[in-house]
Structure formats: structure tokens, C-alpha cells
Symmetry: C2
Subunit: 100 residues, 2 copies
């Protein structure tokens, strides 16, 4: 498995709008076992995304999917910047989707 | 929802053993919608846990569950320390379990 944990900062007041775009654009990504979007409790403009993939190749391929491309295009103006980013190798746990 | 993203460092060489204990001890936690364990790619002794709960109360209650207590007791000697810890409010995404 391949994983990413990353922080994104929305333009002031745009976090909800950015989240809506991300939720919409990431619904159907082959090889995606988990994609959890969470608001940072301390920073009103920040959010965290924890991604779990069956492989790094699936993650890379997802970036070319039309809904993901659309989300990137729509979301980009709402993004102020990126924070921490951790690359991981997920090993399991609870709540991961079955591979499709 | 309530979430935590946290880094844990195992004693040298003990990451696999610690992961096995965590996987075993966290299988059945009421209100837990996601519990993803992932190895850090850069630090051979570090791991990340991304937790998603239906409520902060469920997270708190989980710490008193016998299997979780057993995992804490067994795992504690294998833990060298804790790193970053981010408290979140998950909003959705893909791969979360149904509440139970």
C-alpha cells in the first residue's frame, strides 16, 4: 500500500468550499482504499487529507482522472498553500475500503 | 466526527511488533469509523495513526476497552516516544466504516 498524510491551507474563509470540491472530485478513484478529509481543529483555514492507496502507481494515475483534474482546476484558486506532508506505507487497520 | 493524526516512534527495530499489537487491540472499537496504521517512509522506527471517530466521547471511551487496555500495556515498552499530533474534525471522504 501507499499513503500520504498532508495539510492544505485554504484561502481565508474558503475551507468549506474547498472541501466540497475535494469530496466531489475524489469519489471514484481506482485503487483508492481511503481518502479522509478532516478540518484542523486549531487552524480555521487548514485541512488534512489522509490517503491510502493499493499502490503508488494508482495514486499517480488518479491525478489524470477527469474528475480529479476538474477538482484540481476548481480547487486551485481556493488553496493558499500546503503544510506538512508525510509519505507512508499503510499496513492496515479499520475502515479501509475493499480494492476495486 | 472527531479525529486524530499522530506519529509514534517505536524502540529501534520494534516497529513491526508494535504495529501487530496495535492492529490486534483496535479491531472492535465502538464509534471508530477509521483507524489507519501506516509506516513512515523516512523514519524506519516511526508510524502514523489516522483515527476517525463518530464523536470525541467514543474515542475517550475506547481507551477503557479491555482489548485497548491490553494493547496499551503490551505496546508501551515498545514505544520510544510520540511525534506530531494533530486533532481534527473529519468531514468525510472515502473508506470510512459505517458507524456501529
Amino acid at each position: 500500500m501507499y499513503g500520504l498524510i498532508g495539510k492544505m491551507r485554504a484561502q481565508p474563509g474558503q475551507r468549506e468550499a474547498l472541501i466540497a470540491i475535494l469530496l466531489e472530485g475524489t469519489k471514484a478513484m481506482p485503487g483508492c482504499l481511503g481518502y479522509v478529509i478532516a478540518k484542523d481543529k486549531l487552524d480555521a483555514d487548514a485541512l488534512w487529507i489522509t490517503e491510502t492507496w493499493d499502490s503508488q502507481a494508482s495514486h499517480k494515475a488518479s491525478l489524470a482522472l477527469p474528475p480529479v483534474q476538474a477538482a484540481i482546476a476548481k480547487g486551485r484558486p481556493l488553496i493558499a498553500g500546503f503544510g506538512e506532508r508525510f509519505e507512508t506505507e499503510p499496513v492496515g487497520g479499520h475502515g479501509l475500503a475493499k480494492p476495486r
